[in-house]
Assembly symmetry: C2
């Protein structure tokens, strides 16, 4: 185990009927709340009514900022920063999934910054303070409800970059499984892919060979996410499956799985960021295309750990390490396909001729993230495994 610091102070309020507590929780941090949400699904499923009733009951001033789309964009977020300043919001409440929460986090940091908020994403500036952020979760995938990160796309240059700071970590997150009952099947599937990719990147890309607890944690979470997803796709309103899914995806990327693992890199996310920046495809859909291809690309140097995954998750009994590894990759890809997530560029309608353009875009992020092993040529090679 390598040296690390672990600190995750988010208070989680979990369970059905808990959204009514949001007013009291928000009121601990301020009187005027910027309410950030998406394209209106929360108005159809009753979450909006539950949350705003609770905020009003607590006597709060609500400033609404709707319209966040998946793959949230900087131009929209800048409007949120302007609105928060104009209305003197003291606290930001995200009601949504990762895109909404990440927008709320970026607004919270941006309000306090006297410079271009994008400077945080290019690491020119570091976040020194932010408005308090709270969340009501409506999609279980990103773990943004219990971590310090946010991802944002700047349309100019098609850059999908990220920030990380304890100042933007949610103070309180309310996780009510019933809020996910009406989530479309496609997004339930993408959620599973996202959470699995969150875990498998540190599982494979670390500098610590001895991590029995972390490896078992990842494997236990992955099995839980896979079996919950299979139930959810048949019974979208299965409380137990939704609950297990939410709690597992939260722990899949809130820091614990990568404690002590040394230097972690996220090349699959890096390449996927280019796909969703250029084509605006769902993050989970992009990941199910890139992850198996990247795994095949790393077969030579990673066969041992790939074989372990194959044995632990898919119970593959093949004794040869390389054959077990290959079988595991095939099984994972088949599982992605079975839940309805695309597993090739072609399937997502992305032509082979675009590989050069995607690699060009990803290579820029590779420089920002200092992933020195990922030149444009290497990224091209990986993308060729994703056709």
């Amino acid at each position: 185990m390598q040296n690390f610091i672990f600190e995750n102070p988010t208070k989680i309020i979990f369970g059905q009927g808990q959204i009514g507590r949001v007013g009291k929780e928000v009121a601990r941090f301020g009187r005027t709340v910027l309410l950030v949400y998406g394209l209106g699904s929360i108005k159809k499923n009753g979450i909006y009514d539950q949350a705003t009733a609770s905020l009003r009951e607590a006597g709060l001033n609500i400033v609404e900022f709707p319209g966040v789309k998946s793959n949230p964009v900087l131009s929209h977020t800048l409007k949120g920063i302007a609105l928060a300043r104009e209305k003197q919001a003291e606290v930001v409440l995200a009601v949504g999934g990762g895109s909404v929460i990440d927008t709320a986090k970026t607004i919270a940091a941006g309000v306090r910054a006297d410079h271009d908020v994008w400077d945080f994403f290019t690491y020119k500036k570091s976040i020194q303070s932010a408005l308090p952020v709270l969340t009501v979760l409506t999609l279980a995938a990103s773990a943004s409800e219990m971590n310090a990160a946010a991802v944002m796309t700047r349309e100019e240059g098609l850059q999908k970059f990220s920030i990380r700071s304890p100042h933007i970590q949610p103070r309180v997150s309310i996780l009510d499984p019933t809020a996910l009952f009406t989530l479309p099947a496609t997004y339930s599937a993408y959620s599973a892919v996202d959470a699995i990719a969150h875990m498998l990147e540190p599982y494979f890309n670390n500098t610590e060979p001895d991590s029995p607890f972390q490896d078992r944690l990842v494997e236990g979470l992955m099995r839980t996410i896979m079996e919950s997803t299979e139930i959810i796709l048949k019974e979208p309103a299965n409380y137990s499956a939704r609950a297990n899914m939410i709690w597992a995806t939260t722990w899949a990327f809130n820091g614990l799985t990568s404690t002590g693992m040394g230097l972690i890199s996220l090349p699959v996310h890096m390449i996927e960021h280019s796909l969703s920046a250029i084509y605006d495809i769902a993050h989970g859909a992009g990941l199910s295309i890139v992850l198996p291809g990247w795994m095949r690309y790393t077969l030579d140097r990673n066969a041992g750990k790939l074989a372990r995954l194959a044995r632990e998750i898919f119970l593959i009994s093949e004794r040869d390490e390389r054959l077990a590894a290959v079988a595991g990759i095939e099984r994972l890809q088949a599982w992605f396909a079975a839940i309805g997530s695309p597993t090739s560029l072609t399937e997502a309608g992305i032509p082979e001729e675009d590989i050069d353009k995607i690699a060009e875009n990803a290579a820029v992020l590779a420089q920002v993230w200092q992933l020195k092993d990922y030149s444009k040529e290497v990224i091209t090679e990986i993308l060729q495994q994703c056709r």
Copy 2:
């Protein structure tokens, strides 16, 4: 999954060479620090020197309060409260294991109380505030370094009771695996028993039948603790094994394993508290006596989960549920014996005639903890399984 609140804000600083950071961390909370420690092992292994040098370097006033013994007692803790008040300590630093940390927590709460501190342990009063507590860990077992609980024995009446409050949860804990290199083998073994008992009680004693993540987490932690312990007993200065052991024991009882599990009871701890209150035996030694006996007692109503444990941890392939369960209990008891922890009252020198007295003592705690199923008669029956 049942409704729950999870909040664990302790900042963990993990790794070799990190004790030198304690001065800076303590200085964030006050200028005069009450330094709580045990019977002097930290003076032999250099931890005391490292910690005090760092505190002095940060310009802090150090008020020493040594002399905590395992199974810490109220009379000694009261002296610590008096000393902290006299010297106007603003922060409490525990350098030690669970006993030292629990003493520090009780002092931290006691300093701010205008009544008998024991009222917290009998639940007559609830903790409203406390001095900030920080820790440097020298024994991995209790998880007290990352939870809100403390256990204390009042000599009068031989009562070993506990408290729980977010106010006493450590703000910062430094976990340096090298600090455990000189820990005696017996205590390394007792640590494993303690951590395993911490997890198996919620694993068996909950009101939630569907908990795949929590069950797998427990099983993964338990396997990690067992294999680390086996290495540690051969190589006490094996960094990797000590590191994996510390991190696993911390997560074994910091709240995550029992999230969403509904009403949890700790009958094995309850009965063990009587053993260590009356005979002053090590907590881990008491647990390795009581746990297998309690498991045998619950065989009829718990066979399914006992069999699962047997299969997951000991790879027992017996298909009959009850036979698998029995085999698992036997294997666990044999493992406790193999690492050198006692597995019967006789072995610990406790005569059968004392069972009535022990049951009498434990029945008092059963009332405080509201464990209605555990009458004196039931406790007697369990203790008869521990002879």
